[in-house]
């Protein structure tokens, strides 16, 4: 598999992170996720799971705390410089671009030539089983296909950190099972430090190496799974 840029391995560390205003705050004392492992985050609706992911990705301003990847302080960087890929519950594909255009978006931003973009993107399309959809536009895709495009788009850029916000919630049971398997393999193969937010206990059970429970914006419990 080809990657854009050098693959970096290490540990994502979050310390004393505080986000939000008086009415609702989340406070996370200490989280660390190593490359090649998935941290599962569970909690009720409104417990702050998505806010936590948005804060790590740089879409929420931190009141205090720091986010590091190895020695790099990510919290001082804007989202576009953090090298953190994110997959949302909704695929959020760019409607004006084809499947290939969507997957190549991050490569185009880095001004790679079209031939290089294709060279890097097509293996991912094949791996995720969407190569024959390359010329289609998002509106003509099913939910499962669109979500696989979103995952390919997030992975092709070769960022070391992957955030997943309920990525399988729009899929039916059969697709879910296949998608989980593919994701697990990718995280292992690419040695990604991943955080997965999900409501579905099966997602967490099958994918997460460690699980934390968020309650009213604070971590209320940890569970480390036996390998």
């Amino acid at each position: 598999m080809h990657f854009f840029g050098e693959r970096v391995m290490g540990t994502l560390t979050i310390k004393n992170l505080r986000v939000g205003r008086d009415s609702f705050q989340i406070f996370v004392k200490n989280i660390s996720v190593q490359s090649g492992s998935i941290l599962g985050v569970v909690g009720k609706s409104g417990s702050g799971k998505s806010t936590l992911l948005n804060a790590i990705a740089g879409f929420e301003t931190l009141s205090e705390g720091e986010i590091h990847f190895n020695d790099t302080n990510l919290s001082s960087l804007p989202p576009e410089q953090r090298r953190i890929a994110i997959v949302f519950q909704r695929p959020a594909l760019f409607p004006h671009l084809t499947v290939l255009g969507n997957v190549c978006f991050g490569l185009k931003i880095k001004k790679h030539s079209e031939s290089v973009q294709k060279e890097l993107a097509i293996p991912w399309l094949k791996k995720l089983g969407i190569a024959d959809l390359a010329d289609r536009y998002p509106h003509s895709l099913s939910g499962g296909e669109a979500q696989r495009v979103a995952i390919a788009r997030a992975l092709v850029v070769g960022f070391p950190i992957l955030l997943l916000d309920e990525p399988f919630s729009g899929l039916d049971v059969e697709l879910k099972s296949g998608a989980r398997k593919a994701l697990k393999e990718l995280v292992d193969e690419l040695k990604l430090a991943a955080i997965l937010v999900s409501h579905d206990p099966t997602d967490i059970e099958e994918l997460a190496d460690e699980v934390c429970t968020l309650e009213k914006g604070q971590i209320s419990g940890w569970l480390k799974k036996k390998s």
Binding site: N54, A57, G58, F59, P78, P79, E80, Q81, R82, R83, I84, A85, I86, F88, R90, A92, F94, P95, H96, L97, F105, G106, K108, I109, K110, A150, R153, A154, V157
Partner: protein, 512 residues
């Protein structure tokens, strides 16, 4: 603040200064000149009273017709709802001059309908009310119709199952749901009628029917009295501004509107009742809307050979060039403002940007023209033959509609799209060029077509500023009507109507 936001803030800020400063100057003039004016205050009071009186009455008449039509079309099964819906779009976009011409043709002493009632005469209250009704019923039809379509029918079903009759259900349930949109439509139409110029100038037919808008025009072009124009414009601006504050709705006018099928609560239960509703609806619709449009096509179509092809081409070229300038300026301003309203962090700033971008709805072209001339008389000579003055005024009048188009499209771009692009490394400028602009391609086209359409039908700014003798279709039509050459006027009217309908169809096809 990112660079793009900064640049757009500067552009919008500059436009705001150009818009607000002349208006503020107008009010300062108002405070300083009231003592030095030697006008007959009784006349001023009469003009002000008439302006408000005709606006109130017109809003009421259009309201009764528009609401009834919306209710009948969307709550019962009248044949031809789609035709009515499409025509209600067209009437909203038609230039006032064409409407005035068509109304004279149908309701005038020698007109298709008017010849049967020669003693009543179209000039005066009848003409003014018919003209305003033609335009403004569609505002009620669309806003109230939209509320009716969007409302769930479960409350009505519950009320019916509890034994309420249909009249009670209407007043106690359905009307409560649409009340807000009726009130909003009323204030919006009130503003349009307050600042109506062509309809009153042509169909008013005499000094007794002089409104503030017409008086401003006369003060500038006939009396050369800028001070008086400033005073009149200030009074008009004050009324429009207050109505605008009450309405808060300009942004609610839907550009695209399509009826959809829904459950019918008020459907007539007898075949006779249904036929009666159908007949009455279509009778009034034909009299007020359809007949004037058919008249134009029939009369104009047969008179088109009276026009010289060179005149037609020259006018078309001038109209399109001017319209494109207006469209580009207004679209650029509207895009900047909508971008700020989407991306500024502060909710307060977002609200202000939206409010100020919609504000030109409350400022008629004549009032803004008077304000510009009072503030900087050299505006009359800016650009070749004063055209930049016209471009500024027309662009500002197109701004609210264009802003609406862009802000709706911006709001449809999900946050996740922005987050995905940013997480993949897109800078603000890359977001703009590679995500937002491609996604807003249709809106940009639609906004340009809107600006073009508004410029084609506009008369006031051109009458105030244009001095070269060049003419758009509207001005050509205005001049022909002034010379009582109604045959040629009909032909120009049909050309203008044809151009507007083409523009409207292009816009519709892009939007849907």
């Amino acid at each position: 603040m990112n660079k793009i936001l900064f640049v757009f803030s500067i552009i919008s800020g500059a436009a705001l200064v150009l818009f607000i400063l002349p208006l503020l100057n107008l009010f300062t003039q108002f405070l300083t000149i009231t003592n030095s004016l030697h006008e007959d205050w009784a006349v001023l009071l009469r003009i002000t009273f008439f302006t408000c009186e005709q606006a109130l009455l017109s809003s009421f008449v259009a309201g009764v017709f528009g609401c009834a039509l919306a209710f009948i079309c969307f709550e019962t099964r009248v044949v031809g709802v789609k035709v009515i819906a499409i025509l209600s779009h067209v009437t909203f976009f038609l230039p006032a001059l064409i409407v005035a011409l068509a109304i004279v043709g149908v309701w005038g002493n020698h007109g298709w309908v008017g010849k049967f009632f020669p003693e009543s005469g179209v000039y005066g209250w009848l003409g003014i009310l018919l003209g305003h009704l033609f335009f403004n019923f569609s505002v009620y039809f669309r806003l109230v119709g939209q509320s009716l379509l969007e409302s769930e029918k479960s409350e009505e079903k519950v009320a019916l199952s509890l034994g309420a009759n249909r009249w009670t259900v209407f007043w106690s349930v359905t009307f409560q749901k649409i009340k807000k949109s009726v009130i909003q439509s009323f204030f919006l139409v009130f503003i349009y009628c307050l600042s109506s110029f062509v309809i009153i100038l042509i169909l008013g037919g005499g000094p007794r029917f002089t409104s503030l808008e017409v008086a401003i025009y006369q003060a500038i072009k006939v009396d050369f009295n800028l001070k008086l124009a400033a005073l009149l414009a200030s009074i008009q601006l004050l009324f429009c501004f207050v109505a605008h504050l009450f309405s808060g709705t300009a942004s609610e006018v839907r550009i695209g509107f399509r009826p959809r099928l829904q459950e019918l609560i008020y459907q007539c239960r007898t075949g006779v009742g249904e036929k009666l509703v159908f007949a009455v609806t279509w009778f009034f619709f034909c009299l007020v809307v359809l007949l004037p449009m058919i008249y134009l096509f029939v009369k104009g179509g047969t008179s088109i050979s009276k026009l010289s092809p060179n005149d037609i081409l020259g006018t078309l070229k001038f109209s399109i060039l001017l319209g494109l300038k207006v469209a580009i300026v207004s679209s650029f301003l509207a895009f900047s403002s909508a971008y700020l309203a989407r991306h500024f962090r502060s909710e307060k700033v977002k609200r202000w940007v939206s409010f100020l971008s919609i504000l030109p709805v409350a400022v008629s072209n004549m009032v803004f023209g008077a304000a510009l001339l009072t503030w900087a008389p050299s505006f009359r000579d800016l650009g070749s033959e004063g055209l930049w003055g016209v471009v500024v005024i027309q662009a500002l009048s197109a701004l609210p509609l264009s802003f609406r188009i862009f802000s709706e499209s911006f709001s449809k771009i999900e946050n996740e799209i922005y987050f995905s692009a940013k997480s993949l490394g897109a800078s603000h400028s890359q977001l703009l060029t590679q995500v937002e602009l491609p996604m807003l391609k249709k809106s940009i086209a639609s906004s340009i077509v809107t600006g073009l359409g508004i410029s084609l039908g506009e008369v006031g700014a051109l009458l105030l500023f244009e001095s070269s003798g060049n003419a758009t279709f509207s001005i050509w039509l205005f001049r022909l009507m002034g010379k009582y050459q109604f045959g040629e006027a009909n032909a120009v009217g049909v050309l203008l109507l044809f151009t507007m309908v083409c523009i409207f169809l292009v816009k519709e096809s892009w939007e849907h």
